[in-house]
Each structure stands twice: as structure tokens, then as C-alpha cells.
Symmetry: C2
Subunit: 241 residues, 2 copies
């Protein structure tokens, strides 16, 4: 069973959503038959270059919220994350910026067979360690522990060879009906928008599994067959002819 999850790295519901999906798969009876694939849902195309801002600054500028009001959302995600065993998970006191290079880094790592490890590492670097994921330098630093060659990693981030793939993954999500991240797809058909909680995700995994594995109950159970020992009309096996 294939489970695909589209995420934007700086979307706090995506980091938490990925954690919830991991937990749901861990709890799933058929977890050994689940193939998890992370995909890019870039949402920061128009954020200029490597410029970064604090989440506080961003919320203030975009939404014009008061200091008190703007803390509510981020604190809510942080509290949920802590409650669900994902800590530290820094949202309010974090930086935001253009994530295109990070998505290219993740596409490069995926091409080297490190899809899940790289996404986990980048989420942890960003939310757990408050590290930048916005510059070539910051991303190349993550390469060695993923078994990626730093020189080659710097090269692909500079020449942009995964840019089109990142773009295509985002377009694919939109074609599938996604309007935001995270967005999940089970077995290429069952779409689940947003960061559903672990129980809902587990239920979805079970539902799709059961649908795929439940035999049909044909209406006419008296259907006739021919077998090696003859048919209802034994036209086959005229032994001794």
C-alpha cells in the first residue's frame, strides 16, 4: 500500500502531520506493507531569495495581528505537538523563508533513496533545532549524515536540476485537488487533505486496506464453472478418447 504525503517544510501542520502519519503507520497492522513517500508542495515561490523573517514578523506583516493574538496559532500547534510526543517543536520562535532550495535538496536525497530519512531530518532540523533550511550552506551541512556527498549536493542545489521536479510535484498535488498542505494520497486514489489526527489516519489506512482486500460477494453464488474434473457440462477432459 502506497502512502504519499505532500508537504511544505515551513508549514507547521506539515511537520506535525508527518509525525502523526508516522505514528498511524506504526500502529497499523499491515505497516510492513506500507510504502511511505514524501513529496514537495512548495508554497513559498514568491518569498524573495534567501531572505528570512521570524514567524512573529511574518504574522504581523501579513495579518496585522497584535502581539497577543499572533501567538495563539503557533502556540496551539506547539502544544499539540508536545502532547503528541513531538518535542521540541518550535513554531513561534522560528524563522521562515523561501523553501525552494530545501525542496530541491529533498528531491536530490529522494533520488538517492533517502526520501523518508531526508524529510524527517529536514523537519527535525527546522522545527526541532531551529536550524536554517533556506541556504545552500545550511542544506549541504545536512548531507553527510544522510549519506549524501556534500560536493555533489552543493552542485545540484546550484545548478537547479531538481527544480522542475519540485514544481511538478506541487502541480501534481493541485491536480489531485489539494488546496493546501499537508495532503495525503493512499494507493493513488484516496485523498486526505490536512493534518488529520493519528486516529483518523489509522482509520483511513485500515479502510483503504480493507477495501482493497475484501473479496467481492457475487450476487449469484451458483455460478457455474468448468474444472479439471469436468464442467456442469463436462465438455472438457474427455478422458480416454
Amino acid at each position: 500500500m502506497k502512502v504519499e504525503i505532500w508537504s511544505e517544510i515551513t508549514c507547521p501542520w506539515c511537520g506535525l502531520g508527518s509525525h502523526r502519519l508516522d505514528k498511524a503507520i506504526d500502529l497499523f497492522e499491515h505497516r510492513d506493507e506500507v510504502e511511505l513517500v514524501h513529496r514537495s508542495f512548495p508554497l513559498t515561490a514568491d518569498v524573495p531569495g534567501e531572505g528570512v523573517a521570524t514567524v512573529r514578523q511574518a504574522l504581523k506583516r501579513v495579518h496585522g495581528l497584535s502581539d497577543e493574538r499572533l501567538e495563539e496559532g503557533p502556540r496551539r500547534v506547539e502544544a499539540l505537538a508536545a502532547k503528541e510526543g513531538l518535542a521540541p517543536y518550535h513554531v513561534l520562535e522560528n524563522m521562515v523563508g523561501n523553501t525552494w532550495r530545501a525542496h530541491e535538496f529533498l528531491a536530490h536525497a529522494s533520488a538517492q533513496g533517502k526520501n523518508r530519512a531526508a524529510w524527517d531530518r529536514v523537519f527535525r532540523a527546522y522545527y526541532g533545532e531551529r536550524r536554517s533550511v533556506f541556504t545552500v550552506e545550511a542544506l549541504v551541512e545536512l548531507a553527510p549524515e544522510l549519506g549524501l556527498d556534500p560536493v555533489r549536493t552543493r552542485q545540484v542545489l546550484t545548478d537547479g536540476r531538481f527544480r522542475q521536479q519540485v514544481r511538478d510535484e506541487g502541480l501534481q498535488a493541485r491536480r489531485l485537488g489539494a488546496t493546501g498542505a499537508p495532503f495525503l494520497l493512499i494507493d493513488g486514489r484516496h485523498a486526505i487533505p490536512g493534518a488529520q489526527d493519528t486516529a483518523a489516519l489509522l482509520q483511513a489506512l485500515r479502510q483503504v486496506w480493507n477495501e482493497a482486500h475484501s473479496p467481492l460477494s457475487p450476487a449469484d453464488t451458483e455460478a457455474e464453472v468448468c474444472g479439471p474434473d469436468g464442467c456442469a457440462v463436462p465438455a472438457t477432459r474427455p478422458v480416454g478418447v
Copy 2:
């Protein structure tokens, strides 16, 4: 949606089952998205060479039935076929024999992109026209109207290059749980044994289609997402930073 049907040519429930499946697909709303593939379920491995017998002879020898009793089964299929628009459909007054060459012929035609046309033609030749499908000569005669080169067709029937494929198809059906023919598989998962009637097949097609296309209803419909215009916690798109 892929629909596979395994058949033995001389199994009268298979010829009728194929007709029913065609009708069910014709009635199916999403017929344009159905890929139908016929496969071999050889059941006459131990019928010697090209020796043929009449169905009457075969039934008498195998089952020791009286003339009157032995007519019941074949007449029943013939009556059903006529009632369902498949006529002529000769069962009782037909010949049976070893079908291995016919299956090899069908595998050869399938490799040339003529899977459906060839199965339809062979069923029609056998049940509709009471032609032999048991000799190389008889099969080569069918080649031209299917767009198959007669010389090449004779060659592959002589050198047995599709013998293993025919064997494998039969084994595949048994591995899927088939104990007789016909045997259907929808989308690689939903098995339907025997010659179900058209209504039951149509219902099965609809059921599998609906399962595959019904969106999940996640338990938590309040799931949070980040979009191009921000998140529940708008950490992305710090416009103007």
C-alpha cells in the same frame, strides 16, 4: 480499471461468461476506462494430442450418463445462451479435444495486440461455427482475419514458444484461488469465480469502481492546512520580508 478473465475454450460456461462480461462492460457507465484482458486457464492438459470426441461421447465415457440425462447440461447452457443473445451456441453437438495449441495461438495473438479480438474469434469459431480449434491447420486458418501472419503463426504453434506463458497463466489463476474457469479478477484484487450473470458482473464492476473512486470521509474534518495564502498558523508566505 483492469478486468481479467481466465477461460478454457471448450468450457461452455467460459464462452457464455465472456459474452456476459462483454454485456456488463457495455452497460457499465465507465466502460471507456475498462481494460479487458483474456487469459488462459488450460484444463485439458491430459487430453491426448489432437484426438477429438463429440461432447456426447465424452459425457458418456466420463460420466456414464444415459443419452437423455447427458443432454440436460448442454441444453441448459444452449438455452441460456440463446436467451442472452448468444446464438448459435453449439454445445451438445460439438467436438472436444486438447486446447493447448489454441491457447498458444491466443497467447501469440495477444502478443500482437489482438487479445480481445482473438478470444472472441476463437470462441465464435468453436461455439458459433463448430469449427475445430484443436489443430495447427485449423488455427492458422483464423490468422488472416485477425491480421496475423499465417506463416509466423504456424511457426510459433510448431515451436511452442508460448507454451510456458500459457502454463504460467493457468498457474497464476490457481495462485489467485481459482479452482475452475471462468475466473475473473477486477483491478488485480477482486476475484469473481464462475460465470456470474450479467447483472451480477455489472454490480461488481460498479462496486469496485465506487470503492476505488469514493473519497474518504476523514473523521476529523477540521484538519488544518497551510495554503498559498497562509496557514492556520501562517508561517509561510511572509510577503514583503
